[in-house]
Amino acid sequence: MIEIKNLHASVDGKEILKGIDLTIRPGEVHAIMGPNGSGKSTLSYVLAGRDGYEITEGSVSFFGKDLLAMEPEERAAAGLFLAFQYPVEIPGVANTTFLKSALNAIRKQRGEPELDAMQFLKLVREKTKALSMTDEMLKRAVNVGFSGGEKKRNETLQMAVLQPKFAILDETDSGLDIDALKIVAEGVNALRSPERSMLVITHYQRLLDYIVPDHVHVLAFGKIQRSGGKELALELEKNGYAEFGVNEAA
């Protein structure tokens, strides 16, 4: 599904990713754990196509296509989804308008018929209910006045509506209390399927109690230092990142 090979990326001339290799197959959930500044968010932004990152080396193949050559909207249409660590507020654009525009833009790029207002409303109502979101949250401007938990639920709602093939969850647990985390995790787990893969990026093991990964990778200093099964997360929780040369207390 996605094959990352020797990926190097820089920001303002400073190399952040120093050769990432990662292959994710359909249905797999991978977790990337790493301390602050290890390059976790850079990896997610590079994959989603944000400006400001220079790819100096390496390649990313997504369903056999060159992901790095695609515009962000083309990546979305191809089935990539980034759940943002900090969902962006967009005053003046209603959440429903945004969701409908996004869904229909993706359907259009895929050559599928666009949904009319009634079809869309039916779909979105069903999804909001599952995430304990209110109609009122749909009417509000995108993420404006949303609490941290509401923003993350809104990200999950978008994922549920857009039905991506590959979702990157960037620090989805940050800023969430345990109840909010459970709701979001349930929403995410409901989307797990043999055709859909996920890359869960997190600093802490806590999230992985709720979204249990098949594979865990440790990212530090711009490289994957170690890979293993879900037990690796527990080990990290116990010992921290010290064995990878990271002094988090500093």
Binding site: A48, G49, R50, D51, E71, P72, E73, R75, A76, A77, F81, L82, F84, P87, V88, I90, P91, G92, V93, T97, F98, S101, A102, L103, A105, I106, Q109, A141, Q158, L162
Partner: protein, 451 residues
């Protein structure tokens, strides 16, 4: 500079620029409507004298620092002829969703077109007619008002308009009458292939005490000739009356649109002005609202979208002359390419105008590196118990917002459109009349789609 001729004109004016206009005036003045009425002859003479003294303002004039009218010197504008009377229209602009013709007056190059106009649906006692007709048949209807707010011997362009004073819309709403139908005033700039054409529409709106009216001005262009519209409108808002005065200017690319609107609001009266600008090469909307009685309320707002080499100037003056009045100004503009916008907003709170509540906000969105905005808010406060705030921001489209939308599959152009629309929506929300707001929204969409 040593060879410059010394003149006695006030600093910041070019009296030589008056000459071609005055020569034209001398050719047409014999045929101006209402000639022989001494008050009217006097008014025009005052305008002529003042304009002859001043000429056109230059960039040395504080109020015209950012808007240069020198181009007008180089164009030999001629008065509109009756050639425009033959221009036919498939469809005239309207804010009415049903497309039916409500009460409306149509002017082509400043000249009234009776066969396109209608007074259908107006309550008894309401007068809606063109000024030339009023000056000929009912001069008493306008004699007490013309030139009373927009003084003929003050501002150069008002003086020029007054010198040529001939035609334009006149609305008189008697005491206590509510006009349910939206009154539409349609101004079409056509001009002539032969030479640039100038016209000076003069409007008068009188809303007596406790009356109400909604007026929409459409300024559109037909073809691609060079035209100059130098309009003046005076608005009298009686005690407890409310006048909602909306304007959309989308004239042709070679149009010059200069407009001066002066309102005077009596106690508990409401004057609500909103101007949407997308057209003309150079435009300036000067709006002055004097709160002349206690508990008056004025809203002076607008939105503009300009691109290419367009220049749009918004100059407002809100005069809190009496206590306990409120004023609200919200302007938002989108500037692309090499276009330039000017916002000059002055609020004065006179001595004794206590409990004034004034609010001004001016926000611009620059879509290119070469787009420009010059903003000059000015607050002069001579009372001590007032609440006055103003804010100005200039920004670009937010990269994070753009990326967020694109990451959800929305292409770049659509994402930009959504953000621009959202930015302008806040200004359009100032329009209280829903049908007008919807129509103006669609003009915003048209502008975006025209890329």
């Amino acid at each position: 500079m040593a060879t410059t001729t010394l003149t006695k004109a006030p600093r910041g004016y070019d009296p030589a620029a008056a000459k071609p206009f005055l020569e034209q005036l001398d050719r047409v003045k014999g045929g101006l409507p209402g000639g022989g009425l001494s008050w009217l002859d006097g008014l025009r003479a005052q305008g002529r004298a003042r304009f002859a003294e001043l000429g056109l303002p230059t960039v040395k004039n504080e109020s015209w620092r950012y808007t240069n009218l020198r181009t007008l010197d180089k164009l030999a504008f001629q008065p509109a002829t009756d050639a425009g009377d033959d221009v036919r229209f498939d469809v005239l602009p309207t804010v009415r969703a049903d497309g039916a013709t409500g009460p409306r007056l149509v002017f082509v190059d400043g000249r009234f077109r009776a066969e396109l106009s209608s007074t259908a649906g107006l309550p008894a006692g309401v007068e809606l007619l063109n000024l030339a007709d009023a000056l000929t048949r009912k001069p008493d209807l306008v004699a007490g008002h013309l030139g009373r707010i927009a003084a003929p011997d003050d501002l150069a362009l008002v003086a020029l308009n007054t010198a040529f004073l001939a035609d334009g819309p006149v609305l008189h709403v008697p005491r206590g009458v509510t006009v349910e139908e939206t009154i539409e005033l349609v101004f079409v700039s056509v001009g002539s292939e032969a030479q640039p054409t100038a016209f000076h529409p003069r409007g008068l709106i009188v809303a007596e005490a406790e009356s109400r009216a909604v007026i929409v001005e459409h300024h559109v262009g037909l073809g691609s000739c060079t035209t100059l519209s130098n309009g003046v409108t005076e608005v009298f808002v009686g005690a407890g009356a409310s006048v909602h005065h909306y304007k959309i200017q989308r004239e042709q690319a070679d149009a010059f649109h200069l407009s001066h609107t002066a309102a005077k609001v009596a106690g508990k009266g409401v004057y609500d002005n909103f101007i949407l600008t997308t057209g003309a090469k150079l435009s300036r909307n000067e709006v002055r609202s004097v709160l002349d009685g206690e508990e008056g309320d004025t809203h002076v707002s607008g939105a503009y979208m300009v691109r290419g080499g367009q220049h749009v100037d918004t100059t407002t003056f809100i005069d809190h002359a009496q206590p306990c009045c409120t004023s609200r100004e919200v302007y938002k503009g989108v500037i692309d390419d090499q276009a330039r916008a000017v916002f000059q907003g002055k609020i004065i709170v006179r001595p004794g105008a206590q409990k004034t509540d004034g609010y001004q906000q001016n926000r611009a969105l620059l879509l290119s590196d070469t787009a420009e905005i010059d903003a000059k808010p000015e607050l002069e406060i001579y009372a001590d118990d007032v609440k006055c705030s103003h804010g100005a921001t200039v920004g670009e489209l937010d990269d994070d917002q753009l990326f967020y939308l694109r990451a959800r599959g929305i292409d770049k152009a659509t994402a930009r459109g959504l953000l621009i629309g959202a930015f302008l929506a806040e200004a359009l929300e100032e329009i209280a009349e829903e049908s007008v707001r919807d129509a103006f929204q669609s003009y915003v969409a048209d502008w975006q789609n025209a890329r």
